[in-house]
């Protein structure tokens, strides 16, 4: 950065605001994590206190591990999220490439039709989706969730990615065609790497809602074998009694994988931004 702009007061103010925001954003996570290591009484008496020798307890984690198949739920969530993201990115990018690269009748109309899904929440169609899944025998399979989440994520993915793909140099694609590359090779080897930052954005936008969703797991896949983490944690929340230790422990552990995925994708985001800037 240029020296004239490096005013210490500005820097302090900027960092102050960023730190404040970070503290506010991380506070709930922090509260969940510290309380997951406390006894039930300590949680209610002093929710903000750190666990000490008296109040420390891992009873929440023990409950979670002993009751229900926590690792199974965890695995289901992971499979559903990763598979949905994979299909959203794959099909979204392919549709976006077709829309931005090829001139064909009804191109604009097709683009609008695909974008329509951004404005219409998929939950409106829950009953129809449930009927469809019952008819196709997909109820209580992870495929039911993967298909629904892919459908839910595609419209925005196509919209964002086609905008980015329009910016990929025509000359580059044409050079590939003259060198005899197939359209698939051009798509996978030349175009996809150049829109990686946009793909990471789409992945981050889609990941958290899928991971946290309770609605579709509850309706389409409530069986023990296909429960997701969010649904599995619900057993600890009763109408009259809630096992707060267990809920907080389950939540605490649910945060980790999302964070790992996020770190992977945000790396891509930052790399994309800087590689464009230095060029």
């Amino acid at each position: 950065m240029n020296k004239a702009r490096r005013n210490p007061v500005n820097i302090a103010a900027a960092h102050g605001i960023l730190i404040l925001y970070t503290v506010i954003a991380l506070f709930p996570v922090f509260v969940i994590l510290i309380n997951s290591f406390k006894t039930r009484r300590a949680i209610f008496r002093e929710p903000l206190a750190l666990p000490d020798a008296d109040s420390f307890s891992t009873v929440g984690y023990e409950t979670v591990f002993n009751q229900g198949d926590f690792f199974g739920y965890f695995q289901n969530s992971m499979i559903v999220t990763v598979a949905s993201l994979f299909f959203i990115l794959l099909f979204g990018a392919m549709a976006a490439f077709a829309l931005s690269e090829y001139r064909f009748k009804g191109n604009t109309l097709m683009g609008l039709y695909l974008a329509l899904g951004i404005m219409i929440p998929i939950r409106i169609g829950t009953v129809a989706i449930l009927e469809l899944m019952v008819d196709t025998g997909l109820v209580n399979t992870l495929w039911a969730l993967i298909l629904v989440y892919t459908a839910q994520g595609l419209p925005l993915a196509v919209f964002i990615l086609s905008e980015f793909m329009r910016q990929v140099s025509d000359d580059l694609k044409n050079a590939g065609r003259i060198d005899g590359l197939s359209e698939y090779t051009i798509f996978f080897r030349l175009v996809l790497p150049l829109v990686r930052p946009a793909m990471a954005t789409v992945a981050v936008f889609n990941m958290i809602p899928i991971w946290n969703d309770l609605w579709f797991p509850l309706i389409l896949a409530p069986a023990e074998a296909t429960k997701t983490l969010t649904l599995g944690s619900q057993v600890f929340i009763g109408q009259f009694v809630t096992d707060w230790n267990a809920v907080l422990s389950a939540l605490g552990m649910a945060i980790l994988p999302v964070m790992v995925l996020y770190v992977i994708f945000s790396r891509q985001l930052i790399r994309g931004i800087t590689s464009g800037a230095v060029k």
Binding site: S169, D171, A175, R177, D179
Partner: protein, 334 residues
Amino acid sequence: MTALSLKNVNKSFGSVHVLKDIDLEVEDGEFVVFVGPSGCGKSTLLRVIAGLEDATSGTVEIAGEEVNTVPPAKRGIAMVFQSYALYPHLTVRGNMALGLKQEGRTKQVIEDRVAEAARMLSLGEYLDRRPSELSGGQRQRVAIGRAVVRQPKLFLFDEPLSNLDAALRMNTRVEIARLHRTLAASMIYVTHDQIEAMTLADKIVVLRDGRVEQVGSPMELYNNPANRFVAGFIGSPAMNFLPAEIVGGKKGQMIGIRPEYLRITDQGRLQATVTHVENLGGDTNVLATTEDGHPVTLRLFGQHSIQPDKIIGLDYDDAKSYLFGEDGERVVVA
């Protein structure tokens, strides 16, 4: 043999008619330059020849074979783009080798041709670098190398020098001319820069609004422009146009005089006030305005000190002037 022959080629994008009835022949080993203002359809024509766009009507023949339905990779052409369009994930070697690999050449052939091209373009020490680690001039040389290794029947260049700075542009221009001589290949070169056109071409094709205005050698176009557009486009500084009336001609006609054929004399047919003088060392460009307000440019050889606001008399040889009708076509005076 003709390297390329276009018959009645038209191209429309929806309702926009971009190329109109293009007829053209490129002989074997010829260096043909398409020149014309931005947006006149030069790149579109090149893409039609390459097979990246389909002609709406008409036929494209390369080396005597109709190629209208042949994909770009099988047309025996290679193309160099203005934006280099190198594959960012491949090294220089990989960039040059990819087309040959796709053709299924043997390793030995690929290696030999890449080495030969690298030697020709002095890229030897950069073979293992990626495009992002090269300068603009080096990148363009790699793009040229990528075309050379394929040994195409026809080279296509789309404004390859536009992204380079002035000094590099000159060097690369010379390099392309040398390449044409050593390879003796047929080349089509697109540019909006008439200096590139004049210096490189065996044959220039002047395009305007998707139509061929004139085809000829650089000197033919300079000496015998078919119409006012070509006359104004070829030559720098551009030709002066004055209403023929003011020198005693017919109303509506225009007279065209090149800046280098105007001279300063006391009893000239024209009187003008100097507005600006550009001293280039070797020559001097004088910008002036005639009595009735028409701008004229003179190009004088050597150094002259002329002050702005000075009133000068101007004259020219009739043999070195051109007459254009109301429709812009050349009127040949018998």
